[in-house]
């Protein structure tokens, strides 16, 4: 009797061990992700300024947020920046992947060259491009030196154009990573399908447009999710490249949230902007995660 009890006890312990091992991570994720998320959402319904004060003000902060001109610029910019960033990085990444997939010499060297920007901090990228695009000594002088005397390139200090410099630097940094995603996708295509298409007499460009690119659909989805996620989170790049300026011409939701909360001590308003960011990202990520996990369970 005692022996079986001991055995049962041992068994219970053995069953509890895996959960015990998970528990530190579970604790961190429960508090650090979900608890904090909830905390911020709650704060967004309060009138907190420099410190959290749980005086609820309903949707006041959201009303203030959407009538704030800086937030308006930030939203407009995230659409310009995010849209261009996603489209350009995808096109460039796919193009580079297709080129690299032509069984070229020195494939490894090319891959390394396209990918190294991914290893850099956004701050480093921002500092580099601040130098490259500076109106006095940068690209402008280089092109003028090549003989195009009247060439002018002052986007970095032009409120209308500054956001596009962020796009350029961002695409330069991420394109290689997108290329790697597409390259992996290309290498995963069943080559017998390509042979079959060839036997059916399809010319090369048709094979790309009709078979290969449609087969890369899941990679497009992955690339989109990764790019959208990076775009919405982008903070460092803007800080290092333009500091949100000139004026607040390159304000993004992420920089808005930071300055509002920590510089201008409008915590409730900052929390409201963070909540809007979270909702936007969740709308993209949750369906993606759901389909990924469901896909896996079927497989």
């Amino acid at each position: 009797m005692a022996a079986t009890e001991r055995m049962a006890g041992k068994r219970r312990l053995a069953n509890a061990l895996p959960l015990f091992v998970l528990s530190p991570s579970l604790l961190m994720v429960t508090i650090g992700v979900y608890g904090f998320m909830l905390f911020s959402v709650i704060l967004s319904f309060t009138g907190s300024k420099m410190f959290p004060r749980f005086v609820f003000t309903g949707f006041d902060q959201y009303e203030r947020l959407f009538s704030n001109p800086r937030w308006g610029v930030a939203v407009q910019n995230i659409f310009i920046f995010g849209g261009l960033y996603i489209v350009l990085a995808t096109i460039l990444g796919l193009g580079l992947a297709i080129l690299i997939d032509q069984r070229i010499r020195a494939e490894g060297a090319f891959r390394t060259i396209f990918l190294y920007p991914m290893a850099l901090s956004f701050i480093v990228t921002g500092v580099i491009w601040q130098w490259l695009l500076n109106p006095g000594l940068g690209l402008e002088r280089l092109v003028q030196g090549w003989g195009w005397e009247s060439f002018s390139f002052k986007w970095l200090v032009d409120p209308q154009m500054a956001i596009y410099t962020v796009v350029i630097a961002g695409v330069w940094q991420v394109a290689g990573f997108v290329m790697a995603l597409f390259l992996a996708g290309l290498r995963g295509i069943n080559t017998e399908i390509l042979s079959a298409a060839r036997m059916d007499g399809a010319p090369t460009h048709k094979i790309y447009t009709r078979i290969i690119i449609p087969a890369l659909r899941p990679v497009f989805l992955t690339a989109f999710v990764v790019e959208a996620h990076l775009a919405i989170k982008s903070y460092d790049l803007v800080v290092a490249l333009t500091k949100g300026g000139p004026g607040f011409a390159t304000e993004l939701p992420s920089t808005f949230m930071y300055t509002t909360t920590f510089t201008r001590n409008e915590m409730g308003l900052g929390a409201a902007s963070a909540t809007v960011m979270l909702m936007t990202l969740a709308a993209i990520i949750i369906p993606y995660l759901y389909s990924e996990l469901r896909h896996e369970r079927r497989g």
Partner: protein
């Protein structure tokens, strides 16, 4: 099996081939030049004096190579109020990144092991909940995290930063290890159980020794991610514990009067050096692992 071999067969034979080949290489070389130009310009500029920078252009090679800008950036450049260069901040970053990488990778490995080999009811849901943690915009946790770090006495410390990076890094490492261990046959674990190995013995004796590819991927990912982080460093580090990315940003923005682009570039190079080196030496493994993990669907 690579699709490359097949695309060669796909290509038309005859005179079109050489022209097409030429176009492929021409495009690749132009693209490579564009991708490399910023790095080249950064290196050249960091080796020039300011006079030479004003005289030349972005891509003109340095005439008289000088390491002065590097020395300044390392030892004496002004960052905020103190003028002691980046070296202290470089050490700060190392003190932050080493424990944060070890802890997050270690926890991720254990989580991946449990989630694949000791399945329990609801484990997939739990994993999904953790994966969502990889993707949240960190702005949503900045305020509560700042208060929590203050409450537990870790505000403005390296230990606090380590904790923050472990909390949000463990989601990624769990994802990596889980996807790796899912592909390891369950029979291996069953065999070890039959042989009398317990929970820890199976992990340390059977699974860990075959995990080095994913360990490399996780370490690189975490190292670059944490080394390159700016948001957490800027939000939670005090002046004494600031990581190098924050210092670089301050250095670039502190320069009063004339902008010293050579010092900026040298400082940027110093900041980028560890991750670039890691990428050059281990990038191959990283790419391989990432491709296996990221583009499964």
């Amino acid at each position: 099996m690579s699709v490359a071999a097949e695309t060669v067969i796909l290509r038309r034979s005859g005179s079109g081939v050489n022209l097409a080949r030429f176009a492929v290489y021409a495009l690749l070389i132009v693209a490579a030049a564009v991708f490399l130009a910023p790095l080249v310009s950064m290196v050249f500029t960091s080796l020039k004096s300011m006079d030479e920078i004003r005289a030349g252009n972005l891509l003109s090679p340095p005439g008289a190579v000088t390491l002065e800008a590097w020395a300044t950036a390392w030892n004496s450049a002004c960052i905020s109020v103190s003028c002691a260069g980046l070296k202290g901040y470089f050490l700060n970053s190392i003190r932050m990144v080493v424990p944060a990488v070890l802890l997050s990778v270690g926890l991720g490995a254990l989580n991946g092991y449990v989630l694949t080999k000791w399945r329990f009811r609801g484990d997939n849901l739990l994993f999904g909940a953790m994966m969502f943690g990889c993707f949240i915009p960190f702005q949503i946790v900045l305020i509560p995290m700042a208060f929590t770090l203050g409450k537990i006495g870790l505000a403005g410390t390296t230990a606090g930063l380590v904790l923050v990076h472990v909390v949000y890094g463990v989601c990624f490492t769990t994802l990596f290890f889980r996807n790796f261990y899912v592909a390891v046959p369950d029979e291996l674990v069953k065999a070890a159980r039959m042989d009398g190995a317990g929970f820890w013995q199976i992990f340390t004796r059977v699974l860990l020794p075959i995990s080095w590819p994913i360990i490399v991927v996780s370490v690189i990912w975490q190292f670059t991610g944490i080394w390159n982080d700016f948001l957490f460093g800027a939000s939670f580090a005090g002046g004494e514990s600031q990581p190098i990315t924050v210092a670089l940003n301050n250095l670039v923005n502190t320069s009063t009067g004339v902008k010293l682009y050579n010092v900026d570039m040298a400082a940027a190079m110093i900041t980028a050096a560890p991750t670039i080196l890691i990428y050059l030496f281990l990038g191959r493994f990283f790419l391989r692992g990432l491709m296996a993990g990221a583009v499964k669907g």
